[in-house]
Amino acid sequence: MSSWLDYTINGLIVGNVYALVAVGLALIFGVSRLINFAQGSIYLVGAYIGWVAVVQLHTPLPLTIIVVAAAAAVVGLVIERFGLRPLQNSVRIAPLLATIGISFVLDQLVMLTFSPNPRALPSQLPDVRFQLGGGTIGPLDLLIAGVGITSALLLFVFLRYSKLGWAVRAASQDRDAAMQMGVDVNRVNQAVFGIAAALGGVSGMLVGMYYNQIDTAMSLQATLKGVVAEVVGGAGNVPGAVIGSLLLGLVESYGVAVFGTSYRNLFAFLLLVVVLVLRPNGLFASARQAPPEPLTGTFIAPSRPVRIPRWALAVAAAIFAVLPFFPVSFYVLQTLINAWLLGMLALSLTLVAGTVGQVSLGHAALLAIGAYTSALLSLTLSVPVGLAVIGGGLMSAALGTLLISPSFRLRGHYVSIATLAIGEIVSLVILNWEGVTRGPIGISGIPPLSLFGYDLISPSSVYWFSFAVMVVLALLQGRLLTSHLGRSFRAIRDDDIAARAYGLSLNRYKSLAFIFGGFAAGVSGGIAAHLYSYINHETFNTQQSILALTVVILGGLGNVVGAILGSVALVGLPEVFRIAAEYRILIYGIVLLLLVRFRPQGLLGTI
């Protein structure tokens, strides 16, 4: 029985850490109606600054905390000033994409500076445990609890009694009215980002000390956990975020107690999906809120797409089709095969994120479902590879749509969170469902691509196969966009309330978009599995989801030709310029940020 008390204490301590992240998210959401996807990156930065302070500079603990809080706050202020303030009057998708880009840039900078290898972060506190009832508690637990409670109190006093705190509360209740009354919203934003970043940084440092280990994978986990806690408590609700965090900590801790450590995250994300479905406004939201304000056509940037004549497209396709007849190197073909595979994923994402406006951050999960289905069909059931790939596409369409369906009633940022979480759930299920997926070992010996009994082994045959599949998918998608479904999807994206008032069921049409897009992504994953011959739960990761999103923004949201052009550009250009692999993701992040700021409609324009 004593261990239950230990699990409770552990849950509350971890919950306290989540609270530091979640409170920052709630403050920012309250003022800007923005979920800051970069919050986890600030947490990561805080952990590494803490490491520098403790290990390199040997600062005493109180000074370490102050240094970390101050440095993280500066990062937060920089993000607000240069990343988000220029986007204040942009379309709603812009700040969402910007925080995603900032998060990737920060994570990569930390990774490049400190290497991705885990480091130890000693806690600077005596390693003793005190007996407490049936369990034990250490000085670090007390420190974390102390920091949590102190920050909550300071925040309460700030919001309640300082003039700036009043301004923050006023701005979060009604931003326009607050501005009318002379509240300087820029200063409010600065304050909120500074506070959120300081809390997030300290939280990262404390977690590093708690587990005596820091690594760059912490960032995404922290963002996800913070967002889960915040959404459970009700977005923008600061006390709700604290309670949501403690609840999340307890749910995880008890889940680990019953099922084991590898299930920790699964519980967090399941909690998120359950809350999003049952109480999308959080556990503590008032029963029903006023219908949201109309936001007509402001989600994506209006633009006139560049019209490319059909003959030009046909000529381009013909040139790529005959390319293997010319003496091109294996390397060029290999690069283009990668571009075609990414192109299929981008086609899928540009339909879902661009045409229907559901900015999915979990699209790699669709690749994984397609890849595992196709690999297992061909390996265990000896299905011919060509059919297995189609099976992968169908499974991805069906299962992917089913998994993502809880997010159909959500909007904007919530869709991104939910899809991110669903992507993580898929990856965790693959890791833990050893009976089917072979768990962490992965699947090896996947047969090569073959068609009608002929193995496609030569680079040119693989090239032709992947190119042909992509072209067929692109033509189908182009046809879809000119049908009544194309206009229905775009109507839902532009104004879902008006769309519903004219009889468009959101579930039905979002499902259809995900079914069509899921098929393309699943086929891409299936082909990849047979090309790689080995896959595991990390083959298809969030980085690919972000890469695909950058491709889609680069080409123009919803733009079929743009998706393919963007894939060739983002796969090809780093090869042309021989950019080292570790810098590529950094560059994708920067490209995303520059696009959002200076050419939100992408190269070929939004459709």
Binding site: S286, R288, A290, P291, P294, T296, G297, T298, I300, P302, R304, L476, R479, L480, S483, H484, L485, R487, S488, R490, A491, R493, D494, D495, I497, A498, A499, R500, A501, Y502, G503, L504, S505, R508, S511, L512, I515, F516, T606, I607
Partner: protein, 282 residues
């Protein structure tokens, strides 16, 4: 069912509260077939909330909405659109990135038959397949609807037809309102709810809009109208309902309502007469 016994729309005790505020307070209303009723009242009186309750965008806390005798309280907006209820929005909600043609075609969405077979479970998949394959029945339906859209746009003279392929975000404010009304007409509504169709229009444009609404009424369309321009209300309405602070404070023919002291007080401000008395006393 003998439908003519029922009013087209019938509200009983319809109530919607937001926290401490009762935005719509026990509203009763009967709208007969072919009738045009205007709802007037100061800003914040609950008129648009009432529209949201009737069209399913919001659910009432109490009371019922009946449409041709059938209880439709709390049904989803997509169901109500299929029943033949169309509306326009106060602040204008066109689909910004869609062309004028596509905006109005969305209005006809509930009337798609060939491409949307009414088959349970696999219906959506058939719809996807038909949209991609486009057999001749689907093409013919699409063509017919496009012709209908052009006929609807022709009702607005030369305002919209020359701009049929332009994206709606590029239109003037008044033209966006027209697109909204065209979209509503494309639904072939049995009941049309117009939320301030002339907001932001100049006198010429208002006169045009008034002529159009009069035409629609003459064609037998049942219309619920929210409007601030009293002259238009007086000319078009069979009856006028005045709302203030969620309550119906007056109902009747325009000329009668217009002189009702309660209405005048609602428009001039509460306690104004009282304040004036106090002032004169002091």
């Amino acid at each position: 069912m003998a439908e003519q016994h029922y009013p087209m729309l019938s509200l009983r005790g319809l109530t919607r509260r937001f926290g401490g505020l009762t935005a719509v307070d026990a509203i009763d209303l009967d709208l007969a077939r072919g009738e045009l009723i205007s709802i007037i009242g100061p800003n914040g009186a609950g008129k648009t909330t009432l529209f949201n309750l009737v069209t399913g965008l919001d659910r009432p806390d109490a009371g019922t909405v009946r449409f041709e005798g059938q209880d439709i309280t709390g049904l989803s907006p997509e169901r109500l659109a299929a029943e033949g209820i169309a509306r326009t929005f106060q602040l204008g909600r066109v689909f910004g990135n869609l062309s004028v043609m596509d905006n109005v075609l969305i209005g006809a969405h509930t009337r798609l038959r060939a491409v949307k077979p009414a088959v349970p479970v696999i219906g959506p998949l058939l719809e996807l397949g038909l949209a991609l394959l486009r057999p001749s029945s689907v093409k013919a339906e699409e063509e017919r609807l496009r012709e209908e859209v052009k006929a609807i746009l022709a009702r607005f003279g030369e305002r919209l037809l020359p701009r049929i392929d332009q994206p709606a975000y590029s239109l003037s404010y008044a033209n966006r309102r027209r697109v909204e009304i065209a979209r509503a007409l494309a639904l072939k509504p049995r009941l049309l709810l117009l939320d301030e169709p002339t907001a932001g229009m100049n006198p010429t444009e208002t006169a045009e809009m008034q002529a159009l609404v009069a035409e629609l009424k003459a064609e037998g369309l049942t219309i619920l109208l929210i409007e601030h321009k009293l002259e238009m209300v007086m000319r078009l309405s069979d009856r006028v309902i005045v709302m203030d602070e969620g309550k119906k404070i007056a109902e009747g023919p325009g000329e009668v309502v217009r002189t009702d002291p309660k209405v005048i007080e609602a428009y001039l401000g509460h306690g104004l007469s009282g304040a004036a008395e106090q002032e004169s006393a002091a």
